[in-house]
Symmetry: C2
């Protein structure tokens, strides 16, 4: 376990899915250090698209690569969720006050929230009742610039430090590319999906194989209260996301359709 000299600063855990060497996490780590003591636990290689995956087949590594007063950096072979679990159970002296994940190189808006390892890390924080935020920049390039994003990311961290998030809820923050950022909007998740276009190839043994590719389709492009709309208009989108994914309104509908039954027949 890490032992911090007690300085009454918040304890902040930082992770991501692009790997500990990515540009986005170094910016997030720097900003986190403005607010508290920081422990970074991040994948040793890119774990994009890993969603909420956990590693069950192989053991997890955990290696310290940096230590200075108030900042510790570790890398692991695990997913972002594994990194959060490892930090909680093998490193942190107490439950952290905040978990920051990202800044992802690439968008995680709309239904991409479900495939994103960045948001997996944030969700794992919320499951454990820690205020958590996933940040993503709409620029997947390795050398993406996070400079325009920096003051807004700082502002959102400050908000969450000052105003606790609703219990069991985490934030999905997406940031448009470029310098012309207009501000921050609180939004709902737009309805959309990835339209896949698998590229088919043939290996030397004449077996077909496929590369996943495709484009995102926004199914409600005119809905002004969505993250996609905000992003298109150069606003940073903040979507509060639930750990409890029950469709509460559907419960009565299913009961009305006689889903419930006993072994002796319908109730």
């Amino acid at each position: 376990m890490i032992e911090f000299e007690e300085n009454h600063r918040p304890l902040i855990l930082v992770t991501n899915d692009d790997g500990v060497d990515a540009g986005g996490i170094s910016v997030l780590r720097e900003l986190a250090c403005e607010f508290g003591n920081v422990v970074v636990v991040a994948p040793d290689s890119a774990q994009s698209g890993m969603s909420n995956a956990i590693t069950v087949k192989v053991p997890l590594s955990l290696e310290k690569i940096f230590e200075d007063k108030g900042l510790y950096i570790y890398k692991s072979n695990g997913t972002p969720v594994d990194c959060v679990k490892l930090a909680f159970n093998a490193l942190l002296p107490r439950k952290p006050d905040l978990i920051l994940s990202g800044i992802n190189h690439g968008s995680n808006s709309s239904s991409s929230v479900h495939y994103s390892g960045t948001l997996g890390g944030a969700r794992e924080g919320a499951v454990n009742e820690v205020p958590s935020i996933g940040f993503s920049l709409l620029d997947y390039k390795h050398d993406a610039s996070f400079e325009a994003a920096r003051p807004f990311v700082r502002q959102i961290i400050k908000q969450v430090v000052q105003n606790p998030l609703p219990d069991y809820t985490f934030l999905n923050v997406n940031i448009p590319q470029g310098d012309d950022l207009k501000g921050i909007k609180v939004c709902r998740q737009a309805r959309g999906k990835w339209v896949e276009e698998f590229v088919e190839r043939e290996d030397p043994r004449k077996q077909k194989y496929y590369w996943l590719t495709g484009f995102f389709q926004n199914l409600e492009p005119n809905a002004e209260d969505t993250d996609e709309y905000a992003l298109k208009n150069n606003f940073i989108s903040v979507v509060p996301c639930r750990v409890d994914i029950t469709d509460h309104s559907a419960i009565d509908q299913l009961k009305d359709q006689s889903y419930e039954m006993s072994v002796k027949g319908i109730y």
Copy 2:
């Protein structure tokens, strides 16, 4: 693309996360065949804990291992979500009428819905506007018996075939172990989490490594409307789950806390 002889039967896609050879998927496949033409696309090895993960680093394989009138079985090196995407884009002649995922060997109730590859497959169906159900048996053993579950799984499939699910919603069905099943309950997701207990080991180079283990903690054991409560009382739990995970009630709360801002200051 598969070409079915047109017989006006529903087209059903079956997947899982335990792999194409698991006992649970063979039961689900048999039941699916009672309702329509069936295409199975499942992982060639266990993909437990893969959540909604997609494969982006390596190409995907897709190999037919069985074909008979009305039933096709394929295996892939991908995750359950990859399998659904491959089926949609490389195999199925049209959008399927139903996606069935499972029957998983092991529970996926409460917050386990987020780590489950079985439910990842079902969610991918719902994202694509196909009625989808993930089934799990509370017995992780390789030789688990699915016999007591069989009539209830058939009943739930029948319900979904007859009464379309709410748009963008999929079902998380969990089935208690044993023969003493009392019936089916429509529930909400219980609040709970995995309490990890990493087992620490040392490799020959004196590097520590960790095995993920732990136990599930139900944080509201007396809540009668939850899946955990139903399962504990030998009822099959049916939780309708949302693709849109926005915490709509938190949107106003965040706006009140002045999360929104323009570059010129708070709105």
